[in-house]
């Protein structure tokens, strides 16, 4: 896409965050959508494009009273919303529609009106992974990590350090689920989930949602909020089976998506002021730092340990507290983008001073898919 041709004119999360036992999945989509519409000064009838995952874009359009000329139901896991942004930008530039609403809502904790996790026993994953006892992401997404630690010379303390630093960021965020400080020892003494993963290396399970409204940069000038422009985007997919990922120490989808976004944006790593890396588990920021090219393989753990990603560091990462401490409803990618947008608007609780370029990097499934969006507040 052409850099800065598309802008965010509305962005919001659900009114509440955490435990929301009185709202269903589609109700969370709608609450976030109404908040984003208010943020943009728009009504549902002003929207002519819809995109969502988890529910179908048909359900979203009908529930909201929208008659779209563009609908995207790309559903590749938690980074689906990054792909929705990318596709919407292309659609608007191509004239398929003018104003796109992207929503996410998930009752991860309360399980009100949602679907079930798991595939058919005749799928490849159902035949060649499920019989061995994986019980959801904590025992799937973690499978490559022992090999990664050995290949890189990293330790379980390195994983724990990621959790500790993100908790420091969460302490600055009034909406974060967990704000109390933790130490590496706290992480290593928390309950064992699936060796080498302790509970505090795993994300939260909460309820919530978010929505984003995109339009052309030209139209964005007439909206109430300061526009946040899309500078570059990327996406890729690799495998539905974590056991079949090509390289257990590096995500091919991360590398392809990240490079595409950097190439499109025409920036270097030194230009980046703020970074969100989808952190369903503590190893993901380490993979992300390496696969996006911010660190050489083997240097990410030291980079984090030396507090480069922490408060006051040269590359603030996951400044909302991340999936580990802020919130994680199941498909976290929307929240990573909401924080990038807040940072670009200059309204984040842990605002990075003078930040001009932010990246939201997402993962879908267990290293199955990836989406990257690079944002800027400079026209």
């Amino acid at each position: 896409m052409k850099p800065k041709s598309i802008a965010v004119v509305g962005a919001a999360e659900t009114t509440q965050m955490g435990k929301i036992p009185d709202v269903s999945v589609i109700g969370l989509h709608a609450d976030a959508a109404l908040n984003a519409l208010k943020d943009a000064g728009l009504k549902p009838s002003d929207i002519d494009g819809v995109a969502t995952a988890g529910i179908s874009p048909v359900e979203l359009a009908h529930y909201m009273g929208i008659t779209p000329t563009y609908a995207d139901g790309t559903s590749v896991g938690g980074c689906s919303f990054m792909l929705h942004v990318r596709h919407a930008a292309a659609a608007i530039n191509e004239g398929l529609c003018k104003t796109v609403l992207i929503t996410h809502g998930e009752s991860g904790r309360s399980r009100i009106g949602g679907g079930r996790f798991g595939g058919s026993p005749a799928s490849l994953s159902g035949q060649f992974e499920a019989p061995y006892g994986p019980a959801g992401p904590p025992t799937m997404f973690t499978v490559p990590v022992m090999r990664y630690l050995k290949a890189r010379g990293y330790t379980v303390e390195d994983l724990a350090t990621v959790s500790v630093i993100q908790r420091e960021w969460a302490a600055l965020n009034p909406r974060a689920s967990f704000k109390d400080p933790i130490t590496v020892d706290d992480v290593l003494n928390s309950p064992m989930i699936a060796w080498p993963f302790r509970m505090l290396m795993c994300c939260l399970v909460t309820d919530g949602g978010g929505a984003i409204i995109l339009t052309s940069a030209e139209r964005a000038k007439d909206f109430p909020q300061k526009p946040v422009y899309i500078l570059g985007t990327g996406e890729s997919v690799e495998t539905p089976m974590v056991s079949q990922m090509e390289d257990f120490t590096s995500s091919k989808a991360f590398r392809v998506s990240g490079k595409k976004a950097f190439d499109e944006a025409g920036i270097t790593h030194a230009d980046v002021d703020h970074l969100m890396i989808y952190d369903a588990f503590a190893h993901l920021p380490l993979y992300g730092l390496e696969d996006l090219g911010f660190c050489k393989p083997g240097e990410a753990a030291g980079f984090v340990r030396e507090r480069n990603t922490a408060i006051g560091g040269k590359l603030p990462v996951n400044t909302n507290g991340g999936g580990l401490s802020y919130m994680h409803s199941g498909m976290y990618g929307m929240y990573a983008m909401q924080e990038s947008i807040r940072q670009m608007r200059g309204i984040a609780p842990a605002q990075v001073k003078d930040a001009k370029i932010s990246i939201s990097h997402g993962v879908g499934g267990m290293f199955a898919a990836s989406g990257t969006v690079i944002w800027t507040n400079e026209a």
Binding site: A122, G126, Y132, A135, V143, R147, I193
Partner: protein, 134 residues
């Protein structure tokens, strides 16, 4: 609770039939010689439909794993490994490592392992791996 079992499809039937008779069957491309897993009717490397089933050595090494401390209801009550082995022929597959303590000390990356089969129904035997003997 009964073990969660696979449901074979026409493209994977040969693999599960092999497990029933104690053979770990892989496929190899007749054109480019690439060995691959999981089963499918064509080579994922070159796209050729000219592929053949063969019986693998059943030997490999422990590539990566977790030890699940919150077993699924069908997996019993004790912590157990969910592992990936790299086979001597090249492909990797998920499995459980059996025949040794389910501890980080006993489960050393790169240790040699060999296949062993356990029958769960008339149709399905699952391939597990155990530390290689000698």
């Amino acid at each position: 609770m009964d073990r969660v079992l696979p449901q074979p499809t026409p493209e994977t039937r040969h693999f599960w039939e092999g497990c029933k008779v104690g053979e770990l069957r892989l496929q190899r491309c007749t054109d480019c010689q690439h060995s691959y897993f999981p089963p499918r009717a064509f080579c994922p490397k070159c796209g050729s439909r000219d592929v053949a089933v063969y019986t693998a050595s059943g030997k490999g090494f422990l590539y990566s794993y977790v030890i699940n401390h919150r077993p699924r209801p069908d997996m019993g009550k004790e912590p157990h490994s969910i592992a990936v082995v790299e086979l001597s022929e090249g492909p990797r597959m998920m499995t459980n490592i059996v025949g040794c303590p389910q501890t980080p000390e006993a489960l050393q990356l790169d240790m040699p392992v060999e296949v062993t089969f356990e029958s769960f129904s008339d149709d399905i035997s699952l391939p597990f791996f155990q530390p290689a003997k000698g």
